[in-house]
Symmetry: C2
Subunit: 349 residues, 2 copies
């Protein structure tokens, strides 16, 4: 969960310029490995055995990515692993192993915080057959930091990069959009999970929205299906927000896109609850981050091969890849406008 | 470089009890992988291709593991990778890939700190053919955190665990002992690297000692030779200090040990400079941490096969593995006493 909406999680130079310069400096391909990692959802290393290894790392920092007071440790452990599993899914790979580094101040080490954190992480790991194989622990002076590392594998050459979309490909998204960002805003206004289920329909809807923020569900099954069946030509997970992540994908693929706003699978409960709270569901769906759904592209001739559901989660076609010269756009009825990145980075202005 | 000698880097429950409980909870072997990681220097995953993958993670936290004021960013980048390369070496494996997560406050991101940090990391990486393939970046509220991940590989089953020592095995150590801990103490007293080489013999010796603390050299070559030639029956790197790390190795192997103090390769310059500064070279060599030398055991019939030098670094026999009932001991002349762990954990009492 994020702290200050006015400030980007990343420093202005860190995420994009910095990663680009680092990609350049980290350099050329070696004889040991073919890697295409920095700047995609995960690093890919080609093994000799017909398999590629995929590795992702996610650093979560207290008061930047979560608040100790509003994130129960069990859900923090879940989320630390979930964001990494989502990256592996976005590569079309099967997650295998997890490592986690945890830094905490002494007073937190003395509590059961870390046990509950591992409960959350291990419950999610077991659900997907992922094994926790290592990590590191340290004291810190005051804040909690968690670095989550997940490795996965896929058949050689079958990892799905951000860079493979071609004009004419159809754009799909899993699940629904907007609830994670709505949940963050409601938490910031003081909402919290019901202590017990009161059966009250409204509080169930509220919990659903809060849990999309606090307990994101990585689309592991969809990632594996899209990778193994070679259905997706490109893929990214929605961590920064649809508008930002679609622009990342289009930049990497050197293409444009046209999204039809009427097709966006905006979360029903966001539609219902947000109107009363002066939140705009469409804005949340377009620019809100952390839905951890998968955004992917499919050649027109392959869309009929897409399964209807994986693990109970549906997908929705939301638009089409265009040539780069057409830009990244969204239509609403007869109007069409440019869809600028509006997630994390938006708030840095 | 470490901050407060009175406090352990780890919380009392984190390093040993915690890792043991986690090893238990992380659970049983799966069909996908054989892993033996938690509690050794690195995790080991058996691949299908006759190779094992070794993965290690090291979390460095500002004001716990280093101070921003006394550690130039170039050397911090070097050290972040060096400690992980040392873990890979201690498994007898060849390092291949590096990932690094960096969290820094905004004001540090605005400087060239991160560029210099990567300079140090990449220079060391290139020296050993290690490729930086990914990582994550984040803002933090005030402190710098660095999480360094390195993967390596070795032939299936040839990784060197802490647990393989048998009574009668000879105990060896690479390089020399005590300088890293001496360097830490001198830095705490205000010593710093000479701005330029003045040719002054004493300041050259001082720089040598300070650099053993600030710029540790992982014994990558020795690790690979000892693993590939199957010469070492057990191995650990000296991060906590000889007394602590020997006890870790003996605990894991369920053996005892007898060290001959007259055989310890105490750094010459520590011997020369420390007497004048009321530091005891033997105590530094036994209990001082962060020498990042390799401590390993060899069957008596294999000691003749050991190379004399690797990458210009010699080894020294310092004692012999005994049965568990004989305990972990050190002899000095005719006297023998118990060698208790006296590194990091010592200062927590």
């Amino acid at each position: 969960m994020k702290d200050e909406q006015e400030k980007p999680r990343r420093s202005p130079r860190s995420e994009f310029d910095f990663i680009n310069s680092l990609r350049h400096r980290a350099g050329s391909l070696t004889t040991q490995s073919l890697f295409m990692g920095i700047g995609d959802d995960a690093a890919v290393v080609r093994n000799s055995a017909g398999k590629d290894t995929v590795i992702t790392v996610d650093l979560l920092v207290e008061d930047i990515d979560f608040r100790r007071t509003t994130t129960p440790p069990y859900l923090l452990g879940h989320k630390a692993l979930a964001v990494s599993l989502s990256d592996i899914a976005a590569m079309g790979a099967r997650p295998l192993w997890s490592l986690v580094s945890i830094g905490m101040p002494d007073d937190v080490w003395q509590t059961d915080f870390v046990d509950r954190l591992y409960d959350g992480l291990l419950d999610l790991a077991h659900r997907y057959g992922v094994q926790l194989i290592g990590g590191d622990t340290s004291r810190t002076t005051d804040k909690i930091v968690i670095d989550s590392i997940v490795t996965g594998e896929c058949a050689s050459g079958s990892s799905v990069m951000r860079s493979g979309a071609k004009a004419g490909d159809q754009i799909f998204v899993t699940g629904s959009l907007g609830a994670a960002a709505a949940g963050l805003r409601l938490i910031e206004r003081g909402a919290h999970l019901a202590e017990q289920n009161l059966g009250d329909e409204d509080s169930q809807k509220l919990d659903h929205i809060l849990l999309r923020q606090l307990r994101p569900e990585p689309r592991v099954g969809w990632g594996m299906v899209l990778g193994e069946e070679r259905l997706a030509t490109s893929m990214i997970d929605l961590s920064d927000g649809l508008s930002s992540d679609l622009n990342h994908l289009c930049d990497a693929s050197r293409v444009g896109a046209l999204i039809d706003s009427s097709l966006l699978p905006i979360d029903d409960r966001v539609q219902e609850l947000c109107g009363r709270r002066a939140l705009d569901p469409l804005q949340l769906a377009l620019h809100g981050g952390e839905d951890f759904e998968l955004l992917f592209t499919v050649k027109p001739e392959n869309t009929a091969r897409l399964p209807r559901k994986v693990d109970g989660v549906e997908i929705k076609r939301i638009g089409e890849i265009k040539s780069a010269s057409e830009g990244v756009k969204i239509s609403e009825g007869s109007r069409t406008w440019e869809l600028k990145p509006g997630g994390w980075m938006h708030f840095s202005a």
